[in-house]
């Protein structure tokens, strides 16, 4: 069964450093998302991406965050200057479409980010 692959599985960084989290989506997916989960609880929407541009973003997704899919495969989330409160599990997810209920999300295993 196709999987969403995320790297790294765990990254520890110093406050103020840049972090890039990478995701390889399933090949027939068209819509891509980043969510984050703090302390193993609430799952928060960050951003959605379609047709090589951001389609929606949350209040969390401020100027310190960016996403791109430069080569048509890897989907990356960049945090320019990390803060302590960015420590979380970051999940990449993909979906085939948003019409006809096709928006079933397939999640990766997550990248745990620890900011010291």
């Amino acid at each position: 069964e196709p999987e969403v692959t995320q790297t790294p599985s765990h990254q520890v960084t110093q406050m103020g450093q840049e972090v890039i989290l990478r995701c390889v989506p399933i090949s027939n997916h068209l819509y891509f998302y980043w969510y984050r989960q703090i302390l193993g609880q609430k799952v928060e929407f960050l951003v959605s991406f379609y047709n090589n541009e951001i389609s929606e973003k949350s209040e969390i997704f401020d100027d310190q965050f960016s996403v791109e899919r430069p080569d048509g495969s890897n989907f990356t989330l960049k945090i320019r200057s990390t803060k302590l409160e960015d420590s979380a599990m970051y999940f990449c997810a993909g979906a085939r479409g948003i019409l006809s209920g096709a928006n079933v999300l397939t999640f990766g295993a997550g990248s745990r980010l620890t900011v010291l």
């Binding site: 819509y31 998302y33 969510y35 799952v43 389609s55 999940f91 006809s100 209920g101 999300l105 295993a109």
Partner: protein, 113 residues
């Protein structure tokens, strides 16, 4: 705006007993409703969805959920719980005009032998 409420942080049941995990939602249009399960150190996995049609939907691992429009609820149920069902369960809603899914805070299900 769309939102989901899972009123119980924790549900405990004995193996073999029926289980219910509650979810209520709020959306501006017709809802697309989902249940996902998360096992420790894993990503969320899709269990079932309601889009339209029969209010009772069946999903993976013997789970089912009932859509109740008047009560704006989508409770997850299983007739006979297994210890292996112990996990974190998330309800999610999507407005037909929105691309994102909004998740509830999650309910930890513990099934004891």
């Amino acid at each position: 705006a769309q939102s989901v409420a899972q009123p119980e942080d924790q549900v405990n049941v004995a193996e073999g007993n029926p289980l219910t995990v509650k979810c209520t939602y709020s959306v501006s249009g017709n809802p697309y409703l989902f249940w996902y399960v998360q096992y420790p150190n894993r990503g969320l996995q899709f269990l079932l969805k309601y889009i339209t049609g029969d209010n009772l939907v069946k999903g993976s691992y013997g789970f089912e959920a009932e859509f109740n429009k008047s009560q704006t609820s989508f409770h997850l149920k299983k007739p006979s719980a297994l210890v292996s069902d112990s996990a974190l369960y998330f309800c999610a809603v999507k407005d037909t005009n929105a691309g994102k899914s909004t998740f509830g805070d999650g309910t930890t299900l513990t099934v004891k032998p």
